[in-house]
Amino acid sequence: MERLTLAATQFTPLVDFDYASRALTLQGESYPENAAEFYRPILSALREYASDGAQSGKTTVTLQFAYVNSSSTRSLQQLLTLLDAAARDGASIEVRWLVELDDDVMTELGVDLLSDKSSLSYEIVSR
């Protein structure tokens, strides 16, 4: 699989899916008009990754958002549900949800998105 990288824009986060080092990073803003369209290739890559050797080592997922709109929230739910299913199937996946110290909105969103993902190892880190 080729490394998936997308530069951050005003509406969308930086994306870096480095298969070799088993690391997925999303960082920045997420409020595109069509979030499903933006997240589609990321979800496709994750599906391929999950069916193609995700079990052979620990995968680290780092999510750090300044702002997420409601349609992006839905896409992130899909992404984390997919990761949770892979973890249930035996993959070792660690999710880090990073928020600014005083950002209660993003902290709450992290709780909403992650608290029902029973197979994932995750932490919500304020810094």
Partner: protein
């Protein structure tokens, strides 16, 4: 809500206007106006938690105009939808008010969603938000049961009091209705 939102066109003298926009609403406009609003909130030293909620509700209201609004005037594909959003401060509370046209067909479900939302407690809003989030089979932001979608629920979560709204006929617009949504952030 203590007043009729439809009759509030501009902030009163005791209020501070923060930002207003009226015109075509596209994703590019959401980005440009959103950044202007952020800069204005920073310039006014609005506490970061409040500023984030104001920005979040602003973006959801603007996308609501794009997704549910009816074209106004010439149906140019470039000018997707028209509407207005005003943001002002009164007594350390931040008010946002959006105005747009919606079709007569869209009006009943939108009224139903907004009415359902107005009756929910903050705890029920959070519960509904999580419920909607986990119901991924609903691809669009339309509710299967008359409840609000994630966008409206996000606005409600940010709000200090129930969302107020008004739907009124606009005689000169072919049966289309004017939708006003008013939300307050503390």
């Amino acid at each position: 809500m203590s007043w009729n939102v439809a009759h509030r066109m501009t902030p009163e003298s005791s209020e501070r206007e923060i930002f207003s926009y009226s015109g075509a609403v596209s994703a590019g406009i959401v980005g440009a106006t959103g950044e202007s609003l952020r800069a204005r909130l920073a310039m006014l030293n609005v506490e970061s938690q409040r500023a984030r909620k104001v920005f979040s509700s602003f973006v959801e209201l603007a996308y609501n105009i794009i997704h549910h609004g009816e074209p106004e005037g010439a149906r140019d594909v470039k000018i997707v939808r028209c509407g207005s959003i005003a943001v002002w401060e009164a007594g350390q509370r931040y008010h946002l008010r959006s105005q747009s046209l919606i079709s007569a067909v869209n009006a009943p479900p939108i009224r139903q969603r907004l009415q359902a939302l107005r009756d929910l407690t903050p705890e029920q809003i959070r519960f509904e938000f999580r419920l909607r989030l986990t119901n991924l089979q609903y691809a669009a932001d339309d509710s299967p049961n008359g409840g609000a979608g994630l966008g409206l629920l996000t606005i409600a979560r940010n709000a200090a009091e129930p969302i107020d709204f008004e739907l009124s006929p606009v005689p000169s617009h072919d049966g289309r209705l004017q939708l006003i949504i008013h939300t307050v952030i503390q």
